[in-house]
């Protein structure tokens, strides 16, 4: 199977409370925060690797996983990291973050998909900076492909995927024939979430994403990485959404510590009046 995995780097999500909005609110300042791969995209890369291998012999890769990102030159390191974990080649589409929105990325990806002709586009359900959750769905529509969003499980069948989607109130299972777009949720990297046709159904993966060994990090530097211009992929670079201003959330004051259950009950009844 040939899989295209769009990835994005985001300001360290574990320190998102340290972002600043300068007076006037013209932008969000993430200075001082490290770049990290968007967690959902890391999970998509892991799922793509699981789908292109027999878990018993992971070094013999079957199929191809291609990672693509949109960003300035320094996003190359995000791609190299994905290559080090096992992706086969990479594409960087040169663009500035603030010149992109979900619709534009979807339009550009559509052109790339038409060139690369993957069987599957596998991606995170959302990037945790903008939290916009839309590129996969839009891309599926532009391509006229079926989609399965918020995937918690993927099982490969002949020419199709059986996808368990995490939705409100339970798990909705769809069968999508390839080619298709699948966006992944958190649980996709659990030990029994993803099975290629080659992998034995009794196999249990390690929980989470795989890490790159040092030799793999070195050899990833030699894997192919091509660079494209955004205008190569999207003739219309217009944005469908604009953000004239930003603001900080209202600060929530820390309250008090109570000494025991009796005091807690007293506060809830007499002060907060919620019991």
């Amino acid at each position: 199977m040939k899989i295209l995995v769009p990835v994005k780097r985001v300001a360290d999500p574990d320190n998102a409370n340290k972002i600043k909005i300068p007076p006037g609110g013209a932008k969000i300042d993430t200075a001082g925060l490290e770049w990290k791969p968007n967690p959902f995209d890391e999970y998509a890369v892991e799922a793509a690797l699981r789908l292109t291998e027999n878990a018993a012999t992971p070094k013999q890769r079957g199929g191809e996983a291609i990672v693509v990102t949109f960003g300035p030159a320094d996003t190359t390191s995000t791609l190299r990291a994905a290559l080090a974990t096992g992706a086969d080649r990479a594409v960087r589409v040169d663009a500035q973050d603030d010149a992109l929105d979900g619709s534009l990325v979807a339009r550009a990806l559509k052109t790339l998909v038409e060139r690369e002709k993957p069987d599957l586009v596998l991606m995170g359900k959302q990037a945790v900076d903008g939290d916009s959750n839309q590129v996969g769905q839009m891309l599926a529509e532009l391509l006229g492909w079926p989609m399965a969003t918020f995937a918690a499980t993927i099982k490969e069948e002949d020419g199709a995927l059986l996808v368990g989607r995490e939705v409100d109130g339970g798990v909705l299972t769809l069968r999508v024939k390839l080619p298709a777009v699948v966006t992944v949720d958190l649980r996709i990297v659990a030990p029994t979430s993803v099975y290629s046709k080659q992998t034995a159904p009794t196999f249990k993966y390690n929980d989470g994403v795989r890490f790159a060994a040092l030799p793999a990090i070195m050899s990833a530097k030699k894997k192919p990485l091509v660079e494209l211009k955004l205008s190569d992929l999207a003739a219309d670079s217009g944005l469908r959404i604009r953000y004239p201003s930003y603001e900080s959330p209202p600060a929530r004051k820390a309250g008090i510590k109570v000494k025991d259950v009796a005091e807690l009950i007293d506060k809830l009844v007499n002060e907060a009046k919620v019991l």
């Binding site: 004239p244 930003y246 807690l264 019991l275």
Partner: protein
């Protein structure tokens, strides 16, 4: 003047409460721009539920009731939403539930429209509509504008109070479904494994009791009596879901459910940024945790540093006593 189309959520034979939050949004925009709003409900058997939507002041209630829509599959639903939106609507809206988040971006792409999700506030003044939405796990809010002739949005149920029927009787208009969209012949509904629960829905409950990894295998044993005593919905941190102590559809956080109840209990939850994003809007937050340094105490109105296996049973007893008074 903006005309708004509310896409109702109808699932497993029932109209979902999320719809009423989208109606509140539509009423706000219609009022602010001297426009009007209509509602579209889709699904096999939707006709019966359409009547429930006739009392909210909508210009029309469109019903697409068709056996081809027996189960929600985006590729089968989206074309009818697109065709209806093209009947002169400027804004299309659902709640930001799993349904809305799956459906509306695809609708937006078909309309070549911009899509803004998880709207927490809308300003509609002088014909211009601006939306406020959380980003970076709720650590920033962006005010955005959609630049396309049709605008597609989803709204946070926790931020838009459910609309109440105001009387009147909107005309109900059956619409035939549009031909299935691209990819529809390559996707098949297999099953929906519903988690059955007698408790209130997480996103609608006025009291939520959430547990973290510290509860271990005793998650249900410790939390259920507390939830029962309070008539509360049960939630969980990602860590508790990942460890298998709680089912994943209970997850509260940036990528799970977003709740804003009157009273929120965080039991054995450390308070990671991703969890805070899903509950920071709660009116009163109570945290119980063994670790006095846990970040959850920075947002809690009342914090209790204690062993929760001792404190929670005691708390249950006291709540029962107070409720019995």
């Amino acid at each position: 003047m903006a005309n708004v189309l509310v896409v109702a959520e109808f699932s497993e034979g029932k109209l979902k409460k999320t719809t009423h939050s989208a109606i509140t949004f539509a009423q706000t925009v219609a009022k602010g721009t001297s426009g009007a709003f209509s509602i579209l409900i889709l699904g096999a058997g939707a006709k019966a539920a359409a009547q429930e939507l006739a009392g909210f002041g909508a210009a029309k209630v469109f019903v697409a009731d068709d056996t081809n829509l027996a189960h929600y599959v985006c590729e089968r639903y989206a074309p009818t939403v697109v065709a209806t939106a093209k009947k002169g609507f400027d804004v299309a809206v659902t709640a930001a539930s799993a349904y809305g988040k799956d459906l509306m971006p695809r609708v937006a792409a078909a309309l070549d429209a911009g899509y803004a999700n998880d709207i927490s506030l809308v300003k509609a003044e002088g014909g211009k509509i601006t939306y406020k939405r959380p980003m970076f796990a709720g650590n920033a809010y962006g005010w955005c504008e959609i630049t396309t002739p049709v605008q597609v949005v989803s709204v946070r149920q926790s931020e838009f109070t459910a609309a109440q029927p105001s009387g009147g009787s909107s005309p109900i208009e059956p619409v035939s479904i549009a031909p299935p969209g691209g990819g529809a012949d390559r996707v098949e509904f297999v099953s929906f494994d519903q988690v059955k629960s007698e408790r209130p829905e997480l996103t609608e409950a006025s009291v939520v009791v959430s547990g973290g990894r510290a509860l271990k295998e005793r998650f249900k044993e410790v939390l259920d009596p507390l939830a029962d005593a309070l008539g509360a919905a049960v939630g969980a941190s990602r860590a508790a879901c990942d460890a298998g102590y709680a089912p994943s559809d209970l997850q509260v956080g940036q990528t799970g459910k977003v709740v804003a109840p009157k009273l929120y209990f965080a039991i054995g939850i450390s308070g990671a940024i991703q969890h805070l994003a899903g509950m920071k809007g709660s009116k009163v937050i109570v945290a119980v945790n063994k670790d006095a340094e846990a970040p959850i105490f920075q947002v809690a109105d009342y914090g209790l540093v204690a062993d929760l296996f001792q404190a929670i049973p005691q708390l249950v007893k006291e709540i029962r006593r107070v409720k019995a008074l």
